[in-house]
């Protein structure tokens, strides 16, 4: 054996075998080194990626905070449990039979349903919505036939409910899906598809109402979608994914529901006021004159915010969004109108405060007014004139010439200053979104807006006495919201304080300034307002249609022009003959200072043409309703509470 020829090659062979061994060792070292790099050096990085793979958060929507009315027993918006009917094809052997039965029971299109089933055949545990938000009766019908409906079950989700429908619709606001820009801003609190308050309280108090969404952290498979179901108590849970694989829950972060908001809104008064405006376009604002609480801010036309959360209301939704009457705008604080004669209340107070006139100061009204003998003539609304008028009469009869005179004496600067004190032309500070601030023109305003257009024609942007005359009776460029009008009125009901209206009870009770009017001034203007309503003997006050038996009501009419009077001459005196859009806006502001609580009411009827006819009766109804029909129950309630407190 020793001379076996192969033995001769052994030394060389040993070298070669050693090389093989070394190659083996080097290869092993490379593998181990790479493992070290992946697992130890980059281990943390890959661990995070694996965790991100493994865990998928399922959002648990936080129940939105409730919105209460003036009384906590009155719920304006809450969350109801909407029941969705779902189907899992994996749990049913014969989807056709189920589809047929469902078509009979809940009126669905069986063809479309079966198409959906077919679409998801690869992931048979996918929940297929049969019908969203089914009614109680439909649910009962389905439950009675559950033996014939294998794979059909219900999932419950919270859905916003507005219990008073369209009443106060614009004040409550609605919910809409969050938009891309908002999302950018609000990450990570909000996620795509989240609903966010739009308009009204829902928007203004979004951060409080929204709450904090919770999370179900699930161990998921590489593919497949976790399927959320709800138990008998409506609590969401996940058992399987769309392939039917069991999923394990890692952790749960329960949602924190949003906080409630208690409003100052008297929903019954609101409904009553909206009823009064039915068929018109306009607004009625009722403030507690002592505190600034918004008791009602009716605006017609209105809309039902519920259509934005319910299924199958697309038509109503589109109508609300696109109607040219803008039902989603609250005319109470989101639109400004020329104040017209209601402006005279603040003008009178300003003149008294400035000491330019006393209550007894008289001006002669011949039915028209001229600054100079050859200048333009401004008419008084009463062409025959009012003769010699004092302040009381000027207010009661709304004499324009009287205010032309004091307007000129005050001058535009002081007028602007005083109107700002009254809260006209500036934000009232109400806790609602997108408030219209209105406008009280001033020298600066005129120059700033017009100079850029006429840089070399100073007569186009200089302020003239004629502008002041126009402004004195609330015409020209002036614009105020009905809410501002109510704020102004409230000052004469509460001893000369500026109220800052609010709708969230928590902002109360003291949202009023120190008195900025002397008591005599308040007294004088109040007397004019009182006469305006109460003076029935000839010549009667313009506001007599606002009289309420047994209540001391004061008020002021306003009729603000949309077009120059000369345009209307061709149509004669009958309102019906004048085209709707050319008719005047009708204003009436009213106050009841001596009752508890004192209120300030402002009524605006778009194109109502005459404050005395179109607006004053509505104010009367509101005051009457508030004190005569509601007061007893209110005081009873108070008495009961006091009894409880003791």
């Amino acid at each position: 054996m020793l001379d076996h020829p192969e033995k001769q090659r052994y030394p060389e062979f040993h070298k070669r075998v050693r090389l093989l061994g070394i190659a083996l060792f080097v290869a092993l070292c490379i593998l181990a080194g790479r493992l070290w790099q992946l697992q130890i050096v980059d281990g943390e990085h890959y661990t995070q990626q694996a965790e991100r793979n493994r865990l998928r958060p399922q959002v648990l929507e936080a129940p939105r905070g409730m919105i209460f009315g003036r009384d906590s027993s009155i719920v304006l918006a809450d969350n109801r449990a909407a029941t969705d009917l779902m189907f899992i094809s994996a749990e049913s052997e014969d989807p056709e039979a189920v589809a047929e039965r469902l078509a009979e029971l809940v009126d669905i299109d069986p063809q479309a349903f079966l198409e959906q089933v077919h679409e998801h055949r690869r992931q048979p545990y996918t929940q297929i919505p049969v019908k969203r938000d089914i009614s109680r009766t439909a649910l009962t019908r389905v439950e009675e036939h559950s033996f014939a409906l294998p794979g059909v079950f219900t999932v419950v989700r919270p859905q916003r409910r507005y219990l008073y429908g369209s009443t106060g619709g614009q004040l409550l606001g609605y919910l809409g899906e969050i938009g891309p820009e908002e999302l950018q801003r609000m990450r990570p609190t909000y996620k795509m598809g989240d609903r966010i308050g739009r308009g009204g309280v829902e928007q203004y108090y979004e951060s409080r109402l929204h709450g904090t969404d919770g999370q179900l952290l699930m161990n998921v498979y590489a593919s497949g979608v976790p399927q959320v179901r709800t138990d008998a108590y409506g609590r969401p849970y996940i058992e399987t994914d769309s392939f039917g694989r069991r999923l394990r829950e890692e952790t749960q972060y329960p949602p924190e529901s949003g906080e409630s908001v208690h409003l100052t809104l008297d929903i019954e008064l609101q409904a009553f006021a909206e009823g009064l405006l039915e068929g018109e376009r306009g607004a009625i604002v009722v403030l507690n004159a002592e505190t600034g609480e918004v008791l009602a801010m009716a605006s017609q036309p209105t809309y039902d915010p519920g259509v934005f959360v319910k299924h199958g209301e697309d038509e109503a939704r589109r109508e609300a969004l696109t109607d040219s009457d803008e039902p989603m705008k609250n005319r109470g604080y989101q639109d400004a109108y020329p104040p017209g004669s209601i402006f005279k209340l603040a003008m009178a107070a300003a003149a008294l405060e400035e000491g330019l006139v006393s209550r007894q100061t008289r001006y002669f009204c011949p039915g028209h007014f001229q600054i100079s003998n050859r200048g333009r003539r401004w008419r008084c609304w009463r062409r025959s004139g009012h003769g010699h008028v004092e302040m009381n009469e000027a207010l009661a009869h709304s004499c324009d010439v009287y205010f032309y005179n004091i307007g000129l004496e005050l001058g535009v600067d002081r007028i602007h200053e005083w109107m700002t004190r009254f809260g006209l032309g500036v934000s009232t500070g109400i806790d609602l979104p997108r408030e219209e601030t209105g406008l009280i023109p001033s020298r600066e305003w005129k120059r700033e807006t017009r100079q850029p257009h006429y840089p070399n024609e100073p007569w186009e942007w200089n302020w003239y006495d004629g502008d002041t005359v126009n402004l004195s009776i609330g015409q020209g460029a002036a614009g105020t919201t009905p809410l501002q009008a109510a704020v102004m009125t409230a000052a004469f009901m509460n001893g000369g304080r500026r109220v800052y209206p609010f709708i969230n009870q928590e902002l109360g009770p003291a949202r009023v300034s120190e008195p900025f009017l002397r008591p005599e001034t308040v007294e004088a203007v109040w007397n004019g307002m009182f006469m305006c309503v109460e003076k029935t003997d000839y010549p009667s006050g313009t506001g007599i249609r606002a009289q309420v038996e047994g209540l001391a009501v004061g008020g002021k009419t306003g009729t603000s022009q949309n077009v120059g009077l000369h345009h209307l001459e061709q149509y004669g005196d009958n309102v019906e003959d004048i085209p709707y859009h050319m008719r005047h806006h009708a204003w009436f502001v009213a106050g009841v200072p001596d009752e508890d609580p004192p209120i300030a009411v402002s009524v605006l009827v778009e194109h109502g043409h005459a404050g005395s006819r179109a607006a004053a009766p509505l104010a009367r109804e509101v005051v009457d309703y508030f004190y005569t029909y509601r007061a007893p129950s209110e005081s009873l309630l108070m008495a009961k509470r006091e009894a409880e407190d003791e």
Binding site: L24, W36, R54
Partner: protein, 385 residues
């Protein structure tokens, strides 16, 4: 002396081509290493079965394959390896016939026509071809002896390897076909070919890569491209690569625990019971577990080389080295793919990956490694006597 006489007696007088007592002379170290890997493999497969569903669990099936493979390995050990080598041309031709049968009657699974069905059983002839080629080459080198240094004889070895290689490539089964080349090279080298012959072939082979590239199927090219930049299409073609890295990397030092792998059991990593099973080990057992498995493989292969070197004859050495090369290629390429050092191609990991024919082949390789050693003692005894 009695025992020595007895041994000589066995060798020269009564030795048959078959002797079951060889089993008791087989190298214990290699057997222990192989059994350790078998146990680890079955445990890993048991873990993988948690999410890789099969009517009969994979680890149970694998145990059956182990029994079959161990039986065949015992058979190989019991035979005189020289007898087996002398039959090598027969095995070789048999394998070629089977490969041709696959070509015409093969069963196609996942795009590769690799399987032959016999009754209820299916198997891949290409797997057995690996070992048959090792024996065939050993036979050939033994037959030509030193003439291997002449170019024609050197090149004939390429023909012998080339025929099954082409047949396997046509299935297509790039991984297995690719394995035959290193087997040939290592065995040529060990058989004592001229070095520059080998170097020339390797250089020519490298030069041919651009040509080979044009011959690749589109999906294969895609795999290579994906290997270059898996993150570019992490949800699509790069998925396997990216998820494999995450699986291995997230194991960290100590792993996530037995049967606790999230990547594997939540099916982020496909094929985790077959080609990517090493990722499961790395994820659940961490760096330490992966290194233990690596070390076991290293020790097994090293022991195989030692045994091959100890074989008294060249043909024995060649069989041993050939078998070691088969296993080494699978171990290194599979793990390199798993940890992102090579583009994805279907290469199973010995002892761990699920797969019947390959498991049996692995066991037979171990048998071959053991068989070339069992007669060493006899020679040394003889030499000493």
């Amino acid at each position: 002396m009695i025992s020595a006489t007895h041994d000589i007696d066995i060798m020269d007088a009564h030795i048959g081509v078959f002797d079951y007592r060889n089993l008791f002379r087989a190298d214990r170290v290699l057997i222990v290493l192989a059994l350790a890997l078998v146990v680890i493999g079955l445990l890993t497969l048991y873990s993988a079965s948690r999410s890789a569903y099969s009517e009969i669990p994979y680890y149970v099936k694998q145990m059956v394959f182990f029994v079959a493979g161990a039986g065949l390995a015992a058979l190989i050990v019991s035979f005189d390896y020289r007898f087996l080598i002398s039959f090598a041309p027969f095995f070789y031709v048999l394998c070629l016939v089977l490969l041709l049968l696959v070509e015409f009657f093969g069963i196609t699974v996942k795009g590769g026509q690799r399987w032959l069905g016999v009754g209820p059983l299916t198997f891949q002839p290409s797997e057995f071809t690996k070992l048959a080629l090792v024996y065939m080459l050993a036979w050939y080198f033994h037959t030509i002896q030193h003439r291997i240094r002449y170019l024609p004889f050197f090149l004939l070895a390429f023909v012998i390897t080339g025929i099954p290689m082409v047949l396997i490539l046509r299935q297509p089964n790039l991984g297995t076909a690719g394995l035959l080349a290193p087997v040939l090279f290592v065995m040529l080298y060990m058989a004592g070919c001229k070095r520059w012959h080998l170097v020339a072939v390797v250089v020519a082979g490298l030069a041919a890569i651009p040509v080979a590239w044009t011959q690749l199927e589109d999906y294969q090219k895609e795999r290579v491209r994906t290997f270059g930049n898996p993150a570019a299409d992490a949800r699509g073609k790069g998925w396997q690569t990216v998820q494999t890295m995450i699986t291995v990397g997230s194991g960290g030092m100590w792993g996530k625990g037995f049967r606790e792998g999230t990547q594997t059991h939540l099916s982020f990593l496909p094929e985790h019971h077959t080609d990517f099973i090493f990722a499961l080990v790395a994820e659940e057992m961490g760096f330490q577990g992966a290194v233990v498995v690596l070390a076991l493989f290293g020790a097994l292969l090293w022991r195989g080389i030692v045994l091959a070197r100890g074989s008294p004859e060249l043909q024995g050495t060649l069989v041993g080295v050939g078998a070691v090369t088969i296993l080494a290629f699978h171990v290194f390429v599979n793990i390199a793919i798993t940890i992102g050092l090579m583009p994805v191609t279907g290469i199973p990991l010995p002892f761990l990956s699920y797969g019947g024919t390959f498991y049996v082949t692995t066991m037979m390789c171990v048998g071959a490694m053991l068989s070339v050693d069992v007669r060493r003692g006899m020679f040394s005894e003889t030499d000493g006597a």
